[in-house]
Symmetry: C2
């Protein structure tokens, strides 16, 4: 094991970044100068920028999150934000703060995960910062992406009568987290504890190694569908629906029986005696894409393999409601992840 101080900051950056190969023409110069140099001078190109901070003890628990997965996820959640604009992620910067309990090998594992994500999604690492921290692991990632002028999709474009769609399924990452928590508690004090994840691999993977829905963006393009509004589901469907309604000045109706839920999610909710719809609406960390399309795109949307219709946009005065299976209207409230109240 190598102490981080043995390499020094520049040695560490070099060791961590030398296996990242440049993949994008727009990356003129990556790690190693005061700035990375990007070139987006195509006339139809817009530059997209997003950033996320992830803190040990707040956003992740290293007792059950492998560092490699954490690296992968930290990168992917940023890519997801770029796809959510209908863009393509191209570059990231990765800054980390690490306390003394981490070795060079630990940090290399984290970067292995970042590198895998970069390879999977064709993204270049172009910079970052490394530092000691007083306590715990601190991660800050910025992703820069490319958009096509006029095709970038904001949260503010949804209009009355638009259809609401969501990709994949919801609540799985949240139920995966509950399962990991349960097994962590069960393992307390036991040396050779083997967690039981049999038949629950999907929800574990959704929590530990989520993917960004590049395939949804590709299918929208193939079918020539132009969303009016779009965002990724990171804080829970309820929270994201309210964002779109607020920013677009509209209301919505979403139908309970249309909410996509995987059977592993349902079984886990049953085992833990939790409300399944609450998990799907408020669980968070799904990284699915929520988008709206004009009513005229109805037939095209029905051909989609990666997403499904879950509701419709209404006039603002009708509010935001979930329509239950027994046809009751339940007001949608944001109960998603809030890093300040969950302390």
């Amino acid at each position: 094991m190598s102490e981080i101080s043995s390499l020094g900051e520049f040695g560490l950056i070099d060791a961590l970044t030398r296996d990242f190969k440049v993949k994008n023409k727009s990356t003129k110069y990556g790690v190693g100068d005061d700035c990375a140099v990007l070139d987006y001078s195509g006339k139809e190109v817009e530059t997209l920028v997003t950033t996320d901070m992830l803190l040990e003890g707040i956003h992740f628990d290293l007792t059950y999150v492998p560092l490699r997965h954490l690296g992968y996820k930290s990168a992917v959640v940023n890519f997801s934000d770029v796809y959510a604009m209908n863009g393509t992620p191209r570059q990231i910067t990765v800054s980390i703060g690490v306390s003394k309990r981490f070795t060079v090998e630990h940090i290399a594992e984290f970067y292995d995960g970042v590198r895998l994500a970069c390879e999977q999604y064709g993204v270049d690492l172009v910079g970052g910062d490394t530092s000691a921290s007083v306590t715990g692991l601190i991660i800050s990632i910025t992703c820069i992406g490319e958009g096509v002028k006029g095709k970038t999709v904001m949260r503010s474009g949804a209009r009355d009568t638009d259809l609401i769609c969501v990709s994949g399924d919801l609540g799985a990452a949240y139920m995966g987290l509950q399962l990991l928590e349960r097994e962590r508690q069960a393992s307390a004090g036991q040396k050779d504890f083997q967690p039981d994840f049999a038949g629950k691999e999907y929800i574990i993977e959704r929590q530990l190694k989520p993917e960004a829905r590049r395939d949804v963006i590709a299918e929208l393009s193939t079918l020539d569908i132009h969303p009016t509004a779009m965002m990724d589901v990171s804080d829970g469907l309820s929270s994201e629906l309210l964002h779109i309604c607020h920013d677009s000045g509209v209301g919505c109706r979403v139908y309970e029986d249309r909410i996509p839920i995987d059977y592993q999610t349902a079984i886990m909710a049953e085992e833990l005696n939790m409300n399944l719809v609450t998990a799907a609406m408020n669980g968070g960390e799904d990284y699915e894409l929520l988008f709206t399309v004009p009513l005229t795109e109805h037939e095209k949307v029905q051909q989609m393999k990666t997403a499904r219709l879950i509701g419709r946009i209404t006039k603002p005065e009708l509010g935001a409601y979930l329509v239950s299976r027994d046809n009751n209207e339940i007001e949608i409230k944001a109960q998603g992840w809030n890093a300040f109240t969950q302390e």
Copy 2:
């Protein structure tokens, strides 16, 4: 005083960012969607990206650093990196992690400083992330800037016989830090302690509220001087000279009697019985610009008001040396700031 949880994350972001006005044409959309949208589609334009992480207890001590100054400095050190490429900073993202001891008012003070820096330097805030932290204040800033194709200056372009120049003066921020440390220790346990900074305002300001040398970039442009290599002095002149020598594959000679040092820096070093040249060579946090120019630019460089000649680039086999007043050659070694060994 308001607890941060009283606003919620989105309320907090809104409260913190609403007073930032968009200043750049290239900023199509700032805070509030999955990504900021930038447009650098001019054909001659390159996009520059730099990022810095600043951690309480490692990079700053809030017992003597006012939050407003910290906000200003956090932004400015990133602008400095963009100027060091011969570019213009245009946008920043600001992410913060805050422990429970911080109130909304504290964070607002920090953002006031960021806003002042953004106004001074014509930069737009376009995004960020806020989170609770387990302990202390965590800051991560990414700056995006604009470069002109063919005029971006890397660290790697210095050539044998080039002249070495540096702006302003060196060692002042480091001596300011020593003074603040001394007064902090003197104040321990004393309630009404008044620190004595009389006659030392310059070195205090250099530490707490540094500026980025936009004026140097402007003067280089006015005099039609094209640096072959450039970087900002953040880790100390020694460290930066070695970066340029390493990346350019050259050696250097720098002359002790040419190193620019302010008289307040010299007086403070004398008071604290510290070696002045060591402070100037290794102190760090100067945020001055170090650059090289071809020998043919000698006359133009001598006209500069913001920078001066301090040495010359040599063949690599001649190594990197400081030539002392008594004509001894002292090998330059990096002894600058290292966040991993200073723990």
